[in-house]
């Protein structure tokens, strides 16, 4: 392997965003016939580095060589010309166009959608994908969209493929299928880079692993010669325990009672179908399920943000009195005296205002307090200072716009604000998505502390390993229906995984 010329050689690559140094003199070699896992905490510059290879960003310093020849990649088109194709974490698809139109987008020549559809079907048959070339993207599920993305790169015959966290939205079965395809392509002599957080995927798939930390290149090695513990150490700089704390619930009492909840989207698609469960105080109820099978609608229904077709959601006070939450908006729920906090999936699009500073974001929950016509600026500032101090948010100050913070710090600000109001119910959606290991543990710890103080926590997660270690009970959703509720302690990953794909999980395989 040492004698091969690198397909891609990146040398001394440096990239700055304003004051932030995203990549600092990074060296990286990518070889054909090899799957390289690019590993690093969030904010360590993996995606930035790959974006410079695919022409989205332009390096401030450094050189890129393809097959030993120095090249300049100014635009994605240049990248295509060098055979580089990237599948982004955020899909680069145009919603109102069809799959086929998206796939041929940017290619030269006469537009012949019929011929394109034919070739797309060939590719799909060869690798076992399912794509309807004439389906509009806005009608597709997340995993269908990703399939279109992958087909798009294959259609273009790219021989250097970069995948940015491709499995985040896939079921275990779909992930296996994807890995099989990637292995086939490697055996074809293609160079493949996969960016991922999931250690078992690195071990299962990659031939070599390269690690970045704080924008710097730490090292690379054949995957066979390392293990999860060593890779984690290289990523974070020091050893961390991989165990998540799970204290026993103290005095659980029913807090939220959901009965027969049915929700349809604006387009009339059934999103939740007759969902019933109870969430207890002092307990973490995990919600598992393939992405987009009703988790968002479930949380937003409880938070008063989602119109509901039928069913009931009751808030149960300590003395047993029940109050119906359906038909109330967040403001009237708050006015009822129900202290309900919600950490939504879309942090900057929903939970926070990116262009406002920390103090103003703290005010989002509290600005109505008091009778005055004017806002109270003092207490949000104190709260912001307290959150920065207690949760170790790294920010130049409380008057920095939130959008300038890194993902983990944004989440700390959001969670900090949501638990500041001493809630009795805490809803979290993908609370650690995109966060590095250290930040993730900070969040687990915060959630556990809420649980200990008697809050009913509903935790929607995507990483089954975390759910199995963190949640007291796990509710598994499948296509908007409750597939089952299992105790977190002693649950088998395989069982939960099956329940996610099949109602009840009683597969006969």
């Amino acid at each position: 392997m040492e004698n091969k010329t690198a397909a891609v050689a990146m040398r001394n690559i440096t990239k700055r965003f304003g004051p932030v140094l995203a990549n600092d003199k990074v060296w990286l070699d990518i070889y054909r016939g090899e799957i390289l896992a690019l590993l690093g905490e969030n904010g360590s510059g993996k995606t930035t580095l790959m974006n410079m290879l695919s022409g989205i960003y332009f390096p401030d310093e450094g050189t890129i060589s393809i097959d030993g020849r120095e090249v300049v990649i100014r635009s994605p088109k240049d990248a295509f010309d060098h055979g580089i194709g990237m599948i982004h974490q955020h899909f680069k698809l145009v919603d109102v166009l069809t799959a086929a139109e998206n796939i041929v987008l940017g290619l030269p020549g006469r537009l012949d959608l019929k011929a394109a559809s034919g070739r797309i079907r060939e590719i799909c048959d060869a690798y076992g994908f399912e794509v309807d070339p004439d389906q509009k993207i806005y009608d597709m599920s997340v995993s269908q969209k990703q399939t279109v993305e992958i087909v798009k790169v294959l259609y273009r015959g790219a021989d250097i493929l970069i995948l940015d966290e491709p499995t985040a939205v896939l079921t275990p079965q779909e992930t296996d299928r994807l890995f099989a395809v990637l292995r086939n392509m490697r055996d074809d002599g293609k160079a493949i880079v996969i960016i991922t957080h999931k250690m078992h995927e690195v071990e299962a798939l990659s031939d070599r692993v390269a690690i970045l930390r704080h924008g710097q290149f730490i090292g690379d090695m054949p995957t066979k010669m390392t293990n999860a513990q060593e890779m984690t150490n290289m990523m974070v700089g020091h050893a961390v325990t991989l165990n998540i704390d799970r204290p026993d619930p103290v005095d659980p009492k029913p807090r939220i009672e959901v009965k027969g909840l049915t929700v349809r989207s604006i387009d009339g698609i059934l999103k939740l179908d007759d969902v019933s469960f109870t969430a207890n105080s002092g307990e973490i109820l995990g919600i598992a399920g393939i992405s987009g099978c009703g988790q968002k609608e479930l949380l937003e229904s409880i938070a008063g943000l989602q119109p509901v077709e039928s069913g009931s959601i009751c808030y149960i006070e300590d003395d047993g009195t029940k109050e119906e939450l359906i038909g109330k908006d967040p403001l009237s729920i708050q006015e009822m005296g129900v202290s309900l906090s919600f950490v939504p999936e879309d942090r900057l699009g929903m939970g926070l205002v990116g262009n406002m500073d920390l103090a103003d974001n703290m005010m989002l929950r509290s600005f109505r307090s008091g009778r005055s016509l004017f806002t109270d600026r003092r207490s949000p500032q104190h709260l912001a200072e307290a959150v920065v101090r207690d949760l170790e948010v790294s920010t130049p100050g409380i008057s920095t716009p939130v959008r300038r913070l890194s993902g983990g710090n944004v989440q700390k600000v959001l969670v900090g604000r949501e638990i500041a109001s001493a809630p009795t119910v805490l809803l979290t959606a993908y609370a650690v998505r995109g966060l590095d290991i250290n930040s993730s543990y900070t969040i687990y710890d915060l959630i556990n502390r809420q649980k200990a103080s008697g809050v009913a926590v509903i935790y929607v997660g995507e990483d089954l390993d975390v759910l199995l270690e963190l949640a007291d009970r796990i509710l598994v959703l499948c296509g908007g229906k409750v597939s089952g509720i299992v105790p977190g302690r002693g649950a088998k990953k395989r069982d939960v995984g099956l329940m996610m794909t099949k109602l009840g999980g009683n597969a006969d395989e």
């Binding site: 989205i56 960003y57 332009f58 982004h88 680069k92 109102v96 166009l97 041929v104 987008l105 940017g106």
Partner: protein, 331 residues
């Protein structure tokens, strides 16, 4: 009795400037640029053509001696050049310098209307005319020449064949643009640029070039609308401010046709009809009521605007990135 045979051709010639303006604006908007400078661009297109033909006519002892072909080509070339420069200015500010599109557009309209009226006024002074207008009858005759058989075919000829070549060109342009948008690679790429510039960029489409090209071509088409108004509709008579607010109506028409120039062909005639309806409805001696009739096109646009927003069909919505500047390294 309502006289349809005279009304319809008048509605059509009213509609043609709107059709050209809206076709131009549709192409522009498909690239994600909301060009509110269209009214100004149409003024500039018109006055540039007028300037060209004024000096061409002035170079002859009698305007009747002009060569009809050159008499058409010179104003058309001047008009295209003038509106192209306006389009380039808009693009330079909004695409290269990423300025706010609404503000740039309004500034362009202020500038364009001022430009038109200033040079119009200067030419009037130069011609030493008693009337506050420039009259270019010879050029206009060249523009207005219709098929000789039109007169012989009665109502059919009047309704379908009585127009100058620019009117037919406008319809052809609109239909061609509609076809290009839906059936060619260029059209597909343009739609992608307007719907998701990030996506288009990642797919290797040069977003800046598409925005420039679409906006400049759109501006030139809209400029022709101004030229048509002076040379054909107004019989070669330029009067300051006579073009009025047709530019805004053209923008309204884009919404009315839900970004489809082929629908624009009929819709523009409808708008043209509404615009002049007040002249055909007998209202006795009451001048005041006529002012109320002039509201009609605007009221109708508002109603259509409301209806399309209520129906909320995905395909009928504005391009997703309309009005937003694109910067690749946005973070």
């Amino acid at each position: 009795m309502f006289d349809f045979i005279t009304f319809l051709p008048r509605a059509v010639v009213q509609g043609i400037p709107l059709l050209l303006g809206s076709t131009g604006e549709t192409i522009t908007e498909k690239s994600g640029n909301l060009n509110l400078g269209i009214p100004g661009i149409m003024y500039v297109g018109a006055i540039s053509g007028v300037i060209g033909s004024f000096f061409y006519e002035a170079s002859f002892a009698s305007p009747k001696d002009i060569d009809p072909l050159l008499g058409i080509l010179i104003p058309v070339a001047c008009c295209l050049l003038g509106s192209l420069l306006m389009g380039l200015l808009y693009c330079f500010l909004t695409v290269t310098l990423r300025a706010n599109q609404n503000v740039t557009g309004l500034a362009l309209t202020t500038f364009g209307v001022g430009f038109g009226n200033f040079f119009g006024g200067s030419l009037i002074k130069l011609s030493g005319s008693e009337l506050p207008s420039i009259i270019l009858s010879a050029t206009s005759n060249a523009f207005r020449r219709s098929l000789p058989i039109a007169d012989k075919l009665g109502w059919f000829g009047k309704i379908f064949l009585s127009y100058g070549f620019l009117a037919y060109l406008a319809v052809i342009i609109a239909l061609t643009v509609a076809w290009i948008l839906n059936h060619t690679r260029v059209g597909l790429h343009l739609r992608a640029v307007g719907e998701g510039p990030n996506t288009a960029d990642a797919a290797g489409i040069d977003v800046g070039r598409y925005k420039y090209t679409a906006t400049c071509i759109g501006s030139m088409i809209a400029g022709l609308g101004g030229l048509y108004y002076v040379m054909d509709y107004a019989s070669g008579v330029w009067t300051n401010n006579a073009f009025g607010d047709r530019g805004w109506l053209a923008i309204a028409l884009v919404i009315f046709t839900v970004w489809r120039p082929n629908i624009g062909v009929l819709a523009s005639f409808l708008f043209g009809g509404l615009y002049i309806l007040h002249m055909y409805i007998p209202s006795g001696m009451n001048l005041a009521v006529k002012e109320l009739y002039k509201m009609l096109p605007y009221v109708v646009t508002i109603i259509v605007l409301i209806i399309t927003s209520m129906r909320n069909k995905r395909e009928n919505q504005p391009p997703a990135s309309l009005g937003l500047a694109y910067f690749r390294e946005e973070r």
